[in-house]
């Protein structure tokens, strides 16, 4: 029987951001983003779920957890944990660090550096317990 098996690992990082679109006026930004537009930024304890998909290998695993952890550590956590996304990440120099955009930035970076036999299938990021942003990676 051919079955799709997905393995999901959850990671956490703390970061600050400010939502402010350069193309919009101060007033429009305030109206659109509300408190998220406050000038000095604010932070979240982000929770990132990374899902990989593939066949179960001879070790009984879809992916080597250590290799996955190393990849996420290097390309997500080391870059984003305890950082200001607007100031510290080149990707957000002229892009709003909404969590939608953050998910795309993480997907792009992971795809560029991906080393695992299993494919990246999905990313899900929560800013708080009350929201989540989910992105299915292209097959």
């Amino acid at each position: 029987m051919r079955q799709a098996v997905r393995l999901t690992r959850r990671y956490r990082f703390a970061a600050s951001h400010r939502l402010h679109a350069l193309a919009l006026s101060e007033e429009e930004n305030r109206r659109l983003y509300g408190k998220c537009n406050n000038p000095y930024g604010h932070g979240h304890d982000y929770v990132l779920e990374v899902t990989v998909e593939g066949p179960v290998d001879e070790s009984g695993q879809v992916a080597d957890r250590t290799a996955l952890d190393r990849l996420i550590q290097e390309h997500v956590l080391d870059r984003m944990d305890h950082r200001n996304l607007n100031a510290d990440l080149a990707e957000f120099a002229d892009h709003v660090p909404t969590t939608e955009n953050l998910a795309s930035v993480i997907e792009k970076s992971l795809c560029e550096h991906w080393t695992l036999p299993a494919r990246l299938a999905r990313l899900r990021i929560s800013e708080t317990d009350r929201n989540a942003f989910e992105l299915e990676a292209a097959p």
């Binding site: 799709a4 997905r6 179960v56 009984g60 695993q61």
Partner: protein
């Protein structure tokens, strides 16, 4: 429509392939290969898919699903050392992937019937690591 039932069991396991050296097992499974085992509070979510029965209004009787999960999974696995007490894990490494596949094999024949099929099982080894097995498409 999909309905989901959750069950929990606590069990210990060792992830190591006896055909490989201790160093090789440590490289692949890390601390999971420590020889005397360690435990997890596994959380299992089982989803069944079908149309609600026009008379009962139910996709599947949740009480029956609970009984199936108890009989096939919780009773044999709860408070057990999987490698020693729960075949086939005397032969197969009890990774989360393999435990999920074994649970699928055990419950699918009890659940599938006309118009109703097992659609997904999710097994949490910890709150930060889980595996999904889906019905083949």
């Amino acid at each position: 429509m999909r309905i989901t039932r959750r069950a929990e069991f606590s069990a210990s396991h060792v992830c190591a392939n006896p055909a490989w050296s201790a160093e090789e097992n440590r490289r692949i499974y890390g601390a999971n290969s420590n020889p005397h085992g360690h435990g997890h509070n596994y959380v299992l979510e089982v989803s069944v898919e079908g149309d609600p029965d026009p008379v009962t209004g139910m996709v599947f009787d949740l009480r029956e699903l609970k009984e199936i999960l108890n009989r096939e999974v919780v009773e044999p696995m709860d408070h057990r050392f999987l490698n020693r007490e729960v075949p086939p894990f005397d032969q197969i490494v009890p990774t989360a992937e393999n435990i999920a596949a074994e649970i699928w094999k055990r419950i699918e024949p009890c659940v599938n019937r006309t118009g109703v099929q097992l659609s997904n099982i999710r097994l949490y080894e910890t709150p930060d690591l889980f595996v999904d097995v889906e019905a083949p498409s």
